[in-house]
Amino acid sequence: MGRFEIRWHGRGGMGAVTAAELTAMAAVKTGYYAVAFPEFGAERRGAPVKAYTRIDDEPIYEKTPIEEPDAVVVLDSSMVGQEAVLHGLKSGGWYIANTARDPEEVRKIIGRDDVKVATVNATKLAMEVFKAPIVNTAMIGALVAATGIVPLEKVEEAVRDRFPERYVDPNIKLLRQAYESVRKVV
Amino acid sequence: MTAQLPGWKSLPPGAVITRPGSTVEYKTHDWRTLRPVIDQERCIRCRLCWLYCPEGTIIELDKPYTTKTGRKYTRTYEINYDYCKGCGICAQECPAKAIKMVEEVR
C-alpha cells in the first residue's frame, strides 16, 4: 500500500481529532502501522481544528504535521473551498467534504481538476441520528467508502472499542449510512 | 579537613541521620553570653518561661519550695545550662521579673 496520509479539517467540538484517532485505530486493526495526532495548540470550541492520520505498511518515523496529504476530509460545510483545506493536497488525492452539494459542484468550487471528490450530507444524517451535528463517524464512513483505505468493519470495531456502550449503535448506524450515501467523482 | 570524620563511602545516603536523639550530644551552652538566673523568691510558678523557651531548657521539677514570706509551692523551675543559649526570652516574658540575665563567666 505504501504511505497514506489524511488531514482532517473541522471546528472545535465536531470530533475531527476523534475521527483521526478512530481511523488510525481501524488501520492498526487492519494490520497497518498508523499514528494520529491533533494540530498542536490551544483547543477551543468553534475554532478551526486540524488533525492528522498517517497510515503505512512500514514503521512510521515522522513526528511532523502532514504537509502533502493523500486525502483531506472537511467536517464543516462552511470550510469547503477554503485555501487552508486544499493546501498541499496531492494531485490525484481525495477531497472529501460534508456538504449537500454534488461532487462536481465542489470540484468547481475548489478549482482542482486533478483531485477526486467525494461528498456526503453528514450534517443531515447526524441530525437524524443524534439530533446534533456530530459528524465525525459519518465522515470516516465517507472516507472509507471513497478511498477503501481500511475495511468498514475495522472502523466499526474501533468505534466499539472507543465509545461507551450507549453511543456505539448510533455511531455505527451513522457510519454505515454515510458509507452507503457517499457520492463521488474521480 | 577533619581527619577523624567518616569519608563519603561510609556515610548513609541522603545525609539521613539514622541514630535517633543524637542531638543531645551537641551541647549548645557555649553560645551563651548572658545566663538566665531564676529568683525562686520572686517566681510565681506561672510556667510562662517553660512555654516560651525555644530550646526547651526550662525544667519543671516536683520540688516543693517555701518562700521567706511563707508561700508554699509544690513545683520549682530550673534551667538546663547544658543547652540554654542565653537568648533571654524567658527573662523578657517573665511577668514577675524573676529571671535576671547575668554575665556568663567562663
Binding site: 499514528v35 511532523t64 | 548513609p12 541522603g14 545525609a15 539521613v16 535517633p20
Partner: protein
C-alpha cells in the same frame, strides 16, 4: 510476548497506563500543558477504582514536588509530572529530591520556556534539569514512553542508586500523538518492580532525621555520593534493560543506533526529531548514496559518553541537533556541550558540528535536515579546527 493486545494510546496516556501498572501510592501534580492529560488519566483510574493511590491536589508545581518528597520520605511509591514553567517552578525542590536520595519518578512532556509564552515543544525545560541530580531519559515512541516508567522505578529504587528519575517525551509530537502501544499489566509490572522500600524512610518506630543541616565538614561527602550514585545508575540501567528484554521482549540501550553499521556520517539527536531524521535517512540520504546514520541519545543522565565516542571516532563527520540553546556558552546547544566534552576527554578528533533547530515547536522538516546533512558532509576531510565556532541556527528567519 508476541501477539499481545496493542492499544492506540497517546504518549501521555501510555505513561498513565504504566504508572497504573507500577501501582504507585501517591500522585502529586499540578496541571500544565502538554503534560496535563497524564495526570487527568491517572485521576480517572483512581476515581473508578482501577488504581488505589492518594492524589494530592496542590496549588503549584513547587508544592507538587514538595508533597512528592514528603510522600517518598514516608516510603510511598510516588509519581509526578510536569512541563516547561512547571519544571522551572519545581527547580528548587528537584535538587532536594535528588540529594535526599528519594526514588521519585517524574514524567516530563517537554515544552519551551517563556517568554514569549509558548506551549509547544522543545528541550529547554529538560536541559534546564540536566544538573539537578536526576537520572534522565528521553523516549521517542509511545511504547518506549510507557516502558520507561517501569524502567524508571527499577532504576530509582535500586539500593545502589536511590535517585529520582525523569522520563521525558516530546510535548505534542508525542504527548498528543496516538500510536499502537502494548501496555504492561500490573501483575507482570510488579514482578519486575516489586514494591519494597529500599530507602531510609520516616517511621515512628525507627526514627531518623532527614534533610539535616550539612555544615562544610559534611556537605561535600554527600555530593560525592551523588556522583557515585549516578555512575551506579548506569550499571543498573544496563542490568534493568537486559532483564526488561527477557521479561517483556523489548530491548532498550542508552543510545540507539540507526543505520550506523556502514555509516560514514551521523546526526546525533534526542526525542521525536530522531524520528524525522530516521525517515530522512531512509527516504532521502541513503537513496542518494549518502552513508548517513542516526545516533539517538536515550539516556541523558548519566551521559553515555563511552559508547557514543566509540562510534563517533570512526566517522568522517558528525552533526549534533539541539532543541535548546545554552545562551552565552562556549558551545551552543547543551547536547553538543556534552558530546564535545566527551570527545575531548576521549581524544576523538572527528569534526563535530552543532545545529540548533525546532525551538518553540517549529517543525524540523526534511529541508532542515538536508541543510544539516549538507553542513555535516562539508566537514569531510576537515579537522576539528575547521568546525564553525557558532551553531548553525536551522529554520530561523534572518
Amino acid at each position: 510476548m508476541a501477539g499481545k493486545k496493542k492499544l492506540p494510546l497517546s504518549g501521555n496516556t501510555a505513561i498513565a497506563y504504566a504508572v497504573k501498572a507500577a501501582d504507585v501510592d501517591v500522585i502529586s501534580a499540578y496541571p500544565i500543558t502538554p503534560q496535563t492529560t497524564i495526570v487527568e488519566k491517572l485521576t480517572e483510574f483512581v476515581a473508578n477504582g482501577e488504581l488505589d493511590a492518594e492524589v494530592i491536589h496542590v496549588e503549584s508545581e513547587h508544592s507538587a514536588l514538595s508533597a512528592a518528597v514528603g510522600a517518598s520520605a514516608a516510603g510511598a511509591r510516588v509519581f509526578t509530572a510536569s512541563s516547561s514553567q512547571g519544571i522551572a517552578l519545581m527547580y528548587e525542590i528537584m535538587f532536594i529530591a535528588s540529594s535526599m536520595r528519594l526514588p521519585i519518578v517524574m514524567a516530563m512532556a517537554t515544552r519551551a520556556l517563556s517568554a514569549p509564552i509558548n506551549i509547544w515543544n522543545d528541550h529547554s525545560d529538560f536541559m534546564a534539569a540536566s544538573d539537578t541530580g536526576w537520572v534522565m531519559m528521553m523516549a521517542h515512541t509511545n511504547q518506549e514512553a510507557h516502558d520507561d516508567i517501569i524502567l524508571a522505578y527499577k532504576i530509582a529504587e535500586h539500593p545502589d542508586v536511590l535517585l529520582p528519575v525523569i522520563t521525558a517525551i516530546d510535548g505534542y509530537f508525542m504527548s498528543h500523538t496516538i500510536e499502537p502501544v502494548e501496555p504492561i499489566e500490573r501483575e507482570e509490572a510488579l514482578k519486575f518492580i516489586p514494591k519494597k522500600v529500599t530507602w531510609s524512610v520516616l517511621d515512628p518506630d525507627n526514627p531518623v532525621t532527614m534533610g539535616p543541616l550539612g555544615t562544610p565538614e559534611w556537605y561535600y561527602e554527600f555530593k560525592r555520593q551523588q556522583h557515585e550514585a549516578m555512575k551506579k545508575a548506569r550499571e543498573v540501567f544496563d542490568e534493568a534493560t537486559k532483564e526488561f528484554e527477557k521479561v517483556f521482549g523489548r530491548r532498550y540501550e542508552p543510545v540507539e543506533y540507526f543505520m550506523m553499521d556502514d555509516a560514514e556520517y551521523a546526526l546525533v539527536a534526542m526525542g521525536s526529531v530522531a524520528g524525522n531524521v530516521k525517515a530522512y535517512i531512509v527516504k532521502e540520504a541513503r537513496k542518494r548514496g549518502i552513508k548517513l546514520g542516526l545516533i539517538r541519545v536515550k539516556l541523558f543522565r548519566p551521559f553515555p559518553a563511552e559508547e557514543i565516542m566509540e562510534v563517533i571516532s570512526n566517522l568522517k563527520a558528525v552533526g549534533v541537533i539541539d532543541r535548546a540553546l545554552a545562551f552565552g556558552s562556549s558551545y551552543g546547544g547543551p547536547l553538543y556541550g556534552d558530546i564535545l566534552s566527551a570527545a575531548y576527554t576521549r581524544g576523538v578528533d572527528t569534526p563535530i558540528v552543532n545545529f540548533v533547530a525546532g525551538l518553540g515547536g517549529r517543525p524540523v522538516t526534511f529541508r532542515d535536515i538536508k541543510a544539516m546533512v549538507d553542513a555535516t558532509l562539508a566537514l569531510d576531510g576537515k579537522t576539528r579546527k575547521d568546525v564553525p565556532k557558532e551553531p548553525y541556527f536551522i529554520g530561523v528567519r534572518e
